[in-house]
Symmetry: C2
Subunit: 454 residues, 2 copies
């Protein structure tokens, strides 16, 4: 092949595509363009860098441009993609150092431009010390500011805010988290979101405040233009040294306006299970693409680092002439707040109701190991299944116990549409240091099945 | 119902059946007979009692006879079942205190007599301080002896010996483990058994010896009749203060000889998925029953506490007129040696070959969390799938990392006959404290799939 593959984006999916494609095809020409000055880093690790669990930001870089160049992959840093012309098969690139613009041609294009934080429309949003967290540079700035501060405000109650909250709390910052909805972690059922809130407040009463149903309408600064106060719709005035916006992200697809590449939900790029876009020789992977939800059978947009890696790999295999099908996602997410694991897979009870399922649920609060093992810990699982089909629709888990183990047990069962009556007798390995004789996740299935039968 | 249900056996399955049946039916008469003087205890926890992770043996008792009596379940301790007459619907019981024998009648019988250690035919096996570990009494005796000893010999290289080895090593005992096969943990592939051996020896060089291909032919005692030496076929003479036999177990079904209750593999009781025996009104559950292996589609006998609990529950539901199907097992087992988790599900590579599959495997050694997280640990997974069907046949995992999480992820996939190409893109939740962006278990599936395609 004397074809040239051009990859736009240097986060997770782009470099993954490049590396896998090189392994699949030693000869094909590969060029990767990114607007940043590094590539291939773990943005998901940034909260742990800020917390200082990881000391150096370089630790988060998986592979350097030099590593890629050794594999005969041409890396162009600080090079932004402005426009794609699918008929001419060209991309317009802007060199962010010289501001020169130039066109490059491709035979196959891979769009992996990721997503960017949404900047909410709030008065004085441009004051100093109001941050978003997406790049390593963002992380370095936040950490530096945190180390000289006492108070912070987090906007938004999603995973990134929970992770930043841990980082700030462990660095002795007084934190106010402000969420405009009635609960934090809006993908969870309200009862589970409340459990997380209770844990957070209970762990550090006085140090953390969580305000829900509260909207920020204005920032106020000092003479140096530094944010000093956060004003809410209900009239609260919260003093702060800095603010971090965790108010969502959106796909980086503006540059595709006017191209023939079809966009889907929330302006993400429509891709099929081969990662091909509406244009046969254009692929897309990672946070800029849409996702197919295998529980709801609907398209959705859930940008995740794990999905980005899988999609990049799949795109590479297909570009190389192989076959890889990335069929979809289960909205699987996990995070932690200190020792508390927080995870949801599939859909919540309220979402199941909204979607027209006939959901039934069970909540079990049990120890993760045999109760007599001194290092056993509690966890609470909420399993959701459909009354008609007996198929598992979702699982929420929180606790200091081994939640991830139980969550993962449910995932292939959701994917495989395993019925409750089969799942509840699943042969999970048992030994007192690992679980009770009947694992709590099986208890949950037994309870729902009993409810459905009654 | 004025029916009487008689349950024989007080380990895990019998009490479970009784308790669940009482919840399903508040009125039915339930009598439970056991030859021991306690019921409803966790035999699996005994090694941790010996190790002194658990201080009191009472901790292992889940429910006392008094607890059961409060639920109107009649418990008869020290009462051994000698014979079952399925035509007269009677059981002959021996009172082990008075040695009186008497017949009781039943409408429905549940046999849950468990299993007992196999005593190998070795010269002087009756010397003092040669133990087996099955009951709490056994555990108390072993712990007492251990605390006044310096040296021990463990016979057999199965899970119980690995668990006892941990207990003895952490109590500063010099231990020799003797295994007659060429490897310990014979359900594992040889390479994985070797990894465990290397870990054990590497952790405490000089304190532990593991002898394989070595058979014990004689014990020698002192004038008090206490074992002092273990003599092997190759001529080794090993000094010891006590010996624990971990040389397998067999189902307690001798008393069924001459009855109409059909026995199956290794003299375990043949049961269907309703836990019914060959006699319509006789059920069996727990270690005394056979098992159906859902990977090999063959009957097997794998006595496990988790299976006993599920079977007891199922038997109770069916006796109460409900419907519960216990379809089979996957040979799922797990144990640990200090920080090393050791687990196998399904079949090994060698077993797959023996059974006529066309197995392919992948071994991955990776960190369990993002590599930059300071508390990440290594683990090694060996995934096995069939080249023809792409179906996963088994998984072996060992390591200080979170092996159980990965093992459990594979289990519903084995049960659901999920193909590699689906499994390898499974949407597992990702966050740096929980896994790398692509989980090692998915890497393993990707590698096998690549091998199969090549």
């Amino acid at each position: 092949m004397s074809e040239k593959v051009v990859i736009i984006g240097g986060g997770a999916a782009g470099p993954k595509t490049a590396a896998k494609l090189r392994r699949e095809n030693p000869d094909i020409k590969i060029e990767l363009y990114t607007q940043e000055d590094i590539i291939s880093y773990s943005a998901c690790g940034l909260p742990y860098y800020i917390e200082n669990i990881i000391q150096s930001p370089e630790t988060l870089i998986m592979r350097t441009p030099e590593d890629f160049r050794k594999q005969n992959i041409d890396i162009y840093l600080k090079s932004r993609c402005l426009k794609v012309d699918t008929e001419k098969q060209t991309v317009l690139i802007e060199d962010l150092v010289s501001n020169n613009k130039y066109e490059i041609n491709y035979n196959i294009l891979v769009i992996a431009t990721g997503a960017s934080p949404i900047i909410p429309n709030i008065r004085n949003i441009n004051l100093k010390n109001i941050y978003t967290l997406r790049t390593i540079d963002d992380g370095i700035k936040i950490k530096k500011k945190m180390l000289e501060s006492n108070k912070a405000v987090l906007l938004g109650g999603g995973y990134i805010s929970i992770e930043l909250l841990e980082a700030l709390v462990s660095n002795n910052i007084q934190v106010t988290l402000i969420e405009k909805n009635s609960q934090i972690l809006k993908m969870f059922d309200e009862d589970f979101a409340q459990r997380v809130t209770d844990y957070i407040i209970g762990r550090n009463p006085g140090q953390v405040s969580i305000l829900t149903n509260e909207e920020v309408i204005e920032f106020r600064g000092n003479d140096e233009g530094e944010v000093k106060k956060v004003i809410t719709a209900s009239g609260k005035e919260i003093e702060t040294d800095f603010v971090i916006l965790g108010t969502g992200v959106r796909p980086n697809t503006d540059f595709l306006e006017g191209s023939n590449i079809e966009l889907g939900i929330q302006n993400s790029i429509k891709v099929g299970n081969t990662m091909r876009t509406s244009q046969a020789n254009v692929y897309a992977a990672g946070d800029c693409t849409d996702n197919f939800n295998l529980v709801t059978n609907r398209y959705t947009w859930v940008p995740m680092g794990s999905t980005a890696n899988k999609e990049g790999r799949c795109a590479a295999i297909n570009i190389a002439g192989g076959h890889c099908s990335f069929d979809g996602i289960l909205n699987s997410t996990i995070t932690k707040y200190f020792n508390l694991t927080i995870s949801i897979i599939g859909i919540s009870y309220k979402e199941a109701l909204e979607l027209g399922f006939q959901p039934e649920y069970a909540i079990v609060t049990k120890r993760d190991k045999a109760g007599y093992m001194p290092d056993s810990s509690m966890m609470t699982l909420k399993l959701i299944a459909d009354r008609n089909t007996h198929i598992i629709l979702g699982i929420q888990g929180i606790g200091e116990g081994e939640v991830n183990q139980r969550i993962n047990t449910v995932i292939p069962a959701i994917l495989g549409k395993t019925k409750l009556e089969t799942f509840m007798n699943l042969d999970l390995p048992y030994s007192p240091p690992y679980s009770p004789a009947i694992d709590p996740i099986l208890n949950a299935a037994q309870i729902i099945y009993q409810k459905i039968k009654d």
